[in-house]
Amino acid sequence: MTFNGGSAKSLVDFQRGEISREVFVNEGLYREELDRIFARAWLYVGHESQIRRPGDYFVSCMGEESVILTRDPLGTPHVFLNTCRHRGMKVCRYDEGHTVHFICPYHGWSYATDGRLVGVQQYETGYQPPFDKSQWGLIEVAQLATYKGTIWATWDAAAPPFLDYLGEARIALDLALGAWDGGDGETELLGSVQKWLIPSNWKFVAENFAGDGLHVVSHRSVDMTGIGPTAGEGRRDNPGRLLLAMSPAWGHGITYSYLPPTTNRVEYAASPATSDYFTQCWERRLTKLGSQAGLQVVVGTLFPNMSMHGQQPRTILVAHPRGVATTEMWRVYFVDKDAPQEVKQFLRHYYIRYSGPAGMTEQDDMENWNYATAASRGTIARRHPYNYKAGLGVGGSHELVPGVVTDYPVSMSSEQNTRTLYRRWAQFMDANSWADLTPARAF
């Protein structure tokens, strides 16, 4: 990493909790991120329910780039760069659909849904000698992994297997993506994707969900108004005692909640059907998981830019970089596949009044990220680091969850998770390859 002749690590003072503003606003660093982070890390691409049948496709992003998620005739999922090998034209400009071939409009090259180049105009007569079509299929990711319905990919063959990359956050994905009753039921996406552009650096988004308890004050207006699934003030039901957990080696940050098994949970009271459903799920969950039943995920970020809420709302967000000060947000919502339709509809209304560009909670987050970015770009502003000192020195192991954990009440304020995110960021920015990143070191 060549910024300013120094290293990225010099921009992130983990011990003192100070991080340079250049991390968020420097154009050169941003361009290096595209290479050193987004071309290396495991990125969330989509969900199995978006490509249910062979021939289905869904256009997604990895970093700045457009990719096509497909399911081939054998049922295998693939992720390809959405660009023709001939002259670069996007081979798919629809958002989603079903097809046998992707046919490029420019010169007619056509590709099967497993990426093979199957059609080239004038192939027999125009190329003497003919070129080897098998070397000119769509550019495919180096690795693809599916986990509880989610689909991830990386461009880097040297990246560790996805389950290793998850580290301590694996339990968080299990909890967030698992059926509410703790059983083997599936979760599925609740409909289409919300995509919108915001004038912020992507890392403000990632750190918000990694563990930023102190920003809750910003949501005072929605809490006063009251949009939660139970009547009264607030925007969600009480999830219980908050535990802040970070993965020191992998950079992920999770906020868990815990309720004792004796809790009489009253949730979703505004909808009797939904309340009944969750009460039944809780009872089954108690039977299956005992004292662990009350452990769930509130919110988290998996390095670098996949964030999720595990309960209220229940949603996955990817903050796609579109420039140092622009991010394209892609947000999806998910539910228990077997939940009754009435429950899914109630949740649908709740989720989109909470999150998204019309979400009364998310709107205030975006205002902060927007003007924090804008106010940090100046020459003088950049000289003054951000203060990430909350919760320094606190945190240890915890019997309930893995990783380095800060328990309640310091969990409400500690910035341990966001410090960890940037320490991992600096490791990626300084690394020449995955050899420098694994085994992932906590220093």
């Binding site: 289409s192 919108w196 552009l197 989109i352 560009p357 019309a358 998310e362 709107q363 205002e367 003007y371």
Partner: protein
Amino acid sequence: MANTHIPVSPLNYLMLAKEVEDFFYREADLLDERRYEEWLTIFTDDVRYWMPIRKNVPYRAEHGDMTDENDIAWIDDDKTTLTKRVRQIQTGVHWAEEPASRICHIISNIRLLEAPGTENSNHELAVTSRFCVYRNRVETETDFLVGRRHDMLRRVDGRLMVARRKIILDQSVLMAKNLTMFF
């Protein structure tokens, strides 16, 4: 004479069309002047205020160009949620609208469509219009959102009210950081 099937005389048609236009222009004034409490009163208690999401789909699948009534949308509000949005602005600490945006609604292409039967006991009228909603906030942050509205207007105690509004924005990726404005 407009191509409607409303069985009225030309003069009554003109009077009805003018009433609907005035209704929409007054609504635009209420919004632009931030008179949100009065704006809420134009909606029936059972209103559905819905803004589906647009998608890029093949020509032959044109019917699938926007999300349906059961899918995720930008907005899918009842009267309660619309009221909540107004309450949130009124707290004075809704940072996305504090300081307040400067918003201008231009409503145009107002047409009365076929009324769903003269025996419609709800006395509802189908109307379409176009909107250009311009927003400028803080220093130079500017949005320009354009699209169409499909409304069902209902006459209650003699006055028009909006019983259903479908807002069709002509963007797929939303090119605004939020949707705090009303349409």
